[in-house]
């Protein structure tokens, strides 16, 4: 299953509902284009909802890091929401869990933005 994204606004925060696989190729490109498009339109409070992301490879991990740093460099914030066990485990072993702000409740994620 390839990756799909759908964006919605909640109290000034953009929630990006992602589903499928974030892997080298199409999945990584879709994520990259989505975040860049949001930032270019001034949406700088971004939550990636990964509840339906069932697979991610090292390229996908790299794309999450890229999305995080690109958003930060433009004065915004990007957080992760609802990690599946597989994605959670990957962020743990790569020590990226300490880098990302990871939430498991959407309302709390939205409120956490300054």
């Amino acid at each position: 299953m390839s990756m799909k994204v759908a964006s919605r606004q909640v109290d000034g925060v953009t929630i990006v509902d992602c589903s499928g696989r974030i892997t080298l190729g199409e999945g990584s490109v879709i994520l990259r284009d989505t975040v860049r498009d949001l930032l270019s339109k001034g949406n700088k409070k971004i939550v990636l909802n990964l509840a339906e992301v069932n697979y991610i490879d090292s390229s996908g991990i790299g794309e999450l890091v890229s999305a995080f740093t690109t958003t930060k460099n433009q004065g915004g914030e990007l957080k992760l929401l609802n990690l599946t066990k597989k994605v959670n485990d990957l962020l743990q072993i790569t020590k990226l869990y300490t880098v990302f702000d990871v939430k498991d409740d959407e309302a709390a994620a939205v409120k956490s933005f300054k």
Binding site: T23, L24, D57, S58, G62, I93, K95, V99
Partner: protein, 150 residues
């Protein structure tokens, strides 16, 4: 299911499709051998990362270069070999992705993930490319209900 002596190999193009095919074959073979679900994921992901390295960094998508993927059951091991025809890699130049200065890099985690998921990872650079060997010991149900000796 106990493992028996078997070997299967594939010669694949240097394309994105090869990466997906390699992962699919790893998943199927690991499943057929009776590995538990978490280890099937580990094996398939390690093979995917190995295939990415072969296609992307080794052969650089060159149409005239092939990737060879082999699965072999030897005793209590699943041995996976991935060969490319690239210029080889300098293992000394692979940075530690867990070092604080590398945490925010967008690449360089593939070999680390392979080493995290497999029991043995051997990388042999040569003038004709790179050979990657991934070994997963068979335990529990996949070893016919007996723990594999180490």
């Amino acid at each position: 299911m106990a493992m028996t002596e078997q070997r299967v190999s594939y010669t694949l193009d240097s394309s994105l499709e090869t990466i997906d095919r390699a992962e699919e074959k790893a998943t199927r073979i690991a499943t057929d051998l009776g590995f538990p679900e978490d280890e099937i994921m580990q094996i398939s992901m390690a093979v995917r990362e190995g295939a990415v390295n072969a296609v992307l960094h080794g052969n650089a998508y060159a149409a005239d270069k092939k990737v060879t993927l082999a699965f072999e059951q030897t005793g209590n091991d699943l041995v996976i070999t991935i060969r490319d025809q690239g210029k080889g890699m300098d293992l000394n130049k692979i940075p530690n992705p867990l070092a604080p200065e590398n945490l925010l890099k967008t690449s360089g985690r593939g070999i680390f993930l392979m080493r995290s998921f497999m029991d043995v990872v051997e990388i042999r650079p040569s003038q004709t490319g790179t050979e990657l060997k991934l070994i997963k010991h068979v335990r529990g149900a996949a070893a016919g209900g007996e723990e594999a000796s180490q």
